[in-house]
């Protein structure tokens, strides 16, 4: 087993393990903090795939931006502890069965499908390629993404408007 394999397995364990904690933890604040490890783990997985820019963006946006926002949101909620997060209808048996079936089919697909592989590739910086793609073949999606963000902004502005201001 090479060093790479060990690092990969470690990363995978931390990523999945912390994701499990996010779901099962009873306290919101623990969930948010363990999400930190999940996000970092995903960033390292991007590095393994040779996606350097994506890994950087993942850390900057998810860890630096979204997680901090989430933390603020959690800290500003009224009842931080003893919060019952489960829904009224809890169906352990049906839920477990469906989860198991989904897991089985997805992992079977991952292992047994004949994927289209490109083979080992030399590691090279991807930032320039991404930038060029955005301004050539992916120009339209790039622009439409900004429309999407504008709509999200309008929605946010609508949500925070005071009720009296009609």
């Amino acid at each position: 087993m090479s060093v790479t394999d060990i690092v990969f397995i470690l990363t995978a364990v931390v990523t999945v393990g912390s994701a499990v904690v996010v779901v099962v933890s009873r306290s919101l604040i623990y969930s948010v903090f363990s999400l930190l490890f999940t996000f970092f783990g995903v960033a390292i997985l991007y590095v393994f795939l040779g996606a350097d820019f994506l890994a950087g963006a993942q850390v900057l946006i998810y860890v630096g931006g979204i997680l901090v926002l989430l933390l603020f949101g959690v800290m500003l909620t009224h009842r931080l502890y003893n919060l019952n997060l489960t829904t009224e209808r809890f169906q352990p048996i049906a839920g477990t069965l469906i989860a198991a079936a989904v897991f089985a089919s997805i992992s079977l697909a991952a292992f047994k499908t004949k994927w289209k592989l490109v083979g080992e590739k030399e590691l090279e910086p991807t930032t320039q390629q991404i930038g060029e793609a955005f301004l050539s073949s992916y120009l339209l999606p790039f622009e439409i993404a900004s429309v999407l963000l504008l709509v999200a902004l309008i929605g946010a502005a609508m949500l925070v408007r005071r009720r009296t201001d009609v």
Partner: protein, 496 residues
């Protein structure tokens, strides 16, 4: 023919106009304090009409792709662009005199209506998985905001929340399906995906994986079209949203969802072969669509039987109609596709009509309950007759347009020799007749003791109802242009 970014702009006027209109509405909303109430709807209407005008003017010759293969421009896309713009215009007109929306600030509503229309136009054209996902998200995100537009209304908030949660999960499933497809073919372009699948001859476990892709992506499209089993959000969202928004959701994003479904399955996963699409060897995805179609109409109709809230009843009925429309798509033939387009077109007028009657009655009565519709015929004969025509059309009773849709759909199914499928559809139509007739019975036959006070309807709403009644009554006479138009519209890029 594949056009680059600059050349594509010549065929992109409708979308550019919508985008420009949306920005103008946002600007006028913050700068023209006194005039904005009058100017915003006019700006929105002008943008939609101008976009419709340019769409009708588009002369693209043969089918081609725009923006480096991101969008496909073919007759099929043009049909949906016209359809969606007409739906946008009708919904805008219907929202102008709605008491529900009158209580809140409407500037964003008009901007959002333009944004969602833009998203739907892109959705109907997408030929690339990235574009497909992005336009779907644009439509979904805008719809979430529009559903929760009545901020002080608890039901509206709850509806929006439910919509977001269901939307996020089904989009996630769809994206996972896309990633599997990318892993198998190494491409995001729909036509390149098809070529790759045809070249490698899907065998062995790849068949199972492709089936998984079909199921997962159906979750995404099924969410947009409210097909069973991805319909759970539908009744609550339709009930909680402002009625004009409900009317909009029940027609336009649904149609865009069908457009994208057809483009994905027929354009990406099947091979064209003269009049009939053969699906790629080894996977029987039409069977998935047929199963979804049967479940959708049956469950929608049965659930609608017991509803006493009219909005909720129409929500279930729109689920059932999604099932009928899916019958056409599941057939994989030109006739089936054409039947689907005809059905969608008549569905636009009958369903919007029914929802507008509900809006008008809510304006003066503040209720959606069926009991409160008692004696409506004595209070406003026009409204009762209009509603009856829309409902009879929804049932599919002959002189009205709905019959045309059912005729084409069932004709196409029987053409394929799927008699049991047609029988299930016919049984469903019979069940549906019961709950539609029930509304008519309450409006016309049952009277309460109160003296009948005349119901006031604004002139604009009367005009709009007449505008919606005309196609419902006259389409049956002038069906040949529709027949020709839809027959032309089944040409898909890279298809037949």
């Amino acid at each position: 023919m594949n056009l680059g970014n600059l050349d594509s702009l010549n065929f992109f006027y409708p979308e550019l106009i919508l985008l420009g209109g949306m920005l103008l509405v946002v600007i006028s909303d913050i700068s023209l304090k006194g005039l904005r109430v009058r100017i915003n709807p006019l700006l929105t209407l002008a943008a939609l009409l101008l976009a419709l005008f340019y769409t009708l003017q588009t002369d693209h010759g043969s089918a081609m792709t725009l923006f480096e293969g991101m969008l496909a421009l073919d007759n099929f896309a043009l049909y949906f662009k016209v359809f969606l713009l007409v739906a946008g215009i009708l919904v805008l007109l219907g929202s102008l005199h709605s008491e529900e929306l009158a209580a809140v600030h409407q500037g964003e509503f008009h901007a959002l209506l333009l944004a969602v229309t833009l998203g739907m136009l892109l959705m109907a054209n997408s030929a690339h998985l990235v574009m497909l996902y992005l336009s779907l998200e644009l439509v979904s995100l805008t719809s979430y905001i529009m559903v929760g537009y009545l901020r002080s209304d608890r039901l509206s908030n709850e509806a929006s929340m439910k919509y977001i949660l269901f939307g996020a999960v089904s989009t996630g499933a769809m994206l996972y399906g896309f990633s599997l497809l990318y892993g198998m073919t190494g491409s995001l372009d729909l036509f390149a995906i098809r070529d790759a699948l045809l070249a490698q001859e899907v065998v062995g476990f790849n068949q199972v994986t492709l089936m998984l892709v079909v199921v997962l992506t159906t979750a995404g499209f099924g969410f947009k079209t409210a097909a069973v089993p991805f319909h759970f959000w539908c009744p609550d969202v339709y009930t909680g949203a402002p009625t004009p928004v409900t009317a909009f959701l029940s027609v336009a994003p649904k149609a865009a969802g069908f457009a994208i479904l057809v483009r994905f399955f027929l354009g990406g996963l099947s091979q064209p072969a003269g009049g009939q699409w053969g699906f790629i060897s080894g996977i029987d995805w039409p069977l998935v669509l047929i199963a979804v179609s049967v479940m959708t109409m049956t469950l929608g109709n049965i659930a609608a039987l017991t509803q006493n809230n009219l909005k909720r009843m129409l929500a279930y009925s729109s689920i059932a109609h999604a099932g009928y429309i899916l019958m056409g798509a599941a057939l994989l033939t030109g006739t089936g596709l054409k039947a689907m387009l005809v059905y969608l077109f008549v569905y636009l007028f009958m369903n919007l009509g029914a929802f507008f009657v509900v809006t008008v009655i809510f304006n003066s009565e503040k209720t959606f309950e069926l009991q409160d519709y008692n004696g409506m015929f004595r209070r406003s004969p026009f409204l009762a007759v209009a509603m009856s025509i829309f409902l009879l059309s929804l049932i599919g009773i002959p002189p009205f347009a709905g019959f045309l849709g059912k005729l084409y759909i069932f004709g196409a199914v029987i053409d394929q020799g799927l008699y049991w499928f047609a029988l299930v559809g016919a049984l469903n139509a019979a069940v549906a007749a019961f709950y539609y007739m029930r509304v008519m019975k309450h409006m016309i036959l049952e009277n309460d003791d109160r003296p009948p006070t005349p119901l006031r309807i604004s002139a604009l709403n009367v005009a709009l109802l007449v505008l919606l009644l005309v196609p419902n009554i006259l389409l049956i006479v002038f069906w040949s242009p529709i027949d020709r138009w839809t027959a032309n519209s089944i040409t898909l890029f890279g298809g037949l």
